[in-house]
Symmetry: C2
Subunit: 119 residues, 2 copies
């Protein structure tokens, strides 16, 4: 579970589409909300969003804090804060990541990240 | 599952803390992200946030759209758009709601809502 979470954020930081693809279940039931976006559903849409993001110039670095893992049978969800650094700013995104167990591997089935409004 | 989702939003609209309490699992593992907030964990914190919200003057009306339900064993997650109307504005929040089956009832274990930035 922690390994699956780490793999997801490592893929995100590296802008590595193969590694991101490996982190996810490839099915119609997956969903992804990037901060401020509407929901994307199905692996084709989700993969396209990562491809578009990774093709862009922006590279993000994450400092992950406040992580909590709940395992419930062959499903798990991780709530976590993504403290994001890029070239000239920083922000905090709070996320929930849902995984299901496939053989020995946890695969992501839902990701929902949203901006934390401070102040 | 649809009934549990409906019950959650009906409690929210009615600002009915008893009904909201009924919709949730009462445990340390529950989590809730209100739009723009950081994550709240544990039923005590989550319940307090609803109590504070319901004690305030604001009453919200939801038009729920774009709903998708995934059932995976005794866990389920619902992605949904909350089109929110209040006295003088409207906004769209996209949410994921995670439920687990307890006896014959689906209980909410995680809610994460975030503003959809249009433009």
């Amino acid at each position: 579970m922690l390994a699956a979470t780490r793999a997801f954020y490592a893929a995100f930081e590296a802008a590595d589409l193969d590694a991101m693809s490996e982190a996810w279940e490839h099915s119609d039931r997956v969903s992804c909300v990037h901060p401020g976006w509407t929901v994307l559903r199905g692996w084709a849409s989700v993969a396209s969003s990562w491809a578009a993001m990774f093709n862009g110039p922006q590279r993000l670095q994450f400092i992950l804090t406040n992580e909590s893992v709940v395992v419930h049978g062959d499903t798990a969800w991780v709530t976590i804060d993504e403290n994001i650094l890029d070239a000239d700013s920083s922000a905090t995104v709070t996320a929930i990541n849902v995984f299901t167990l496939v053989g020995a591997d946890w695969k992501m089935v839902a990701h929902h990240g949203s901006p934390v409004m401070t102040g």
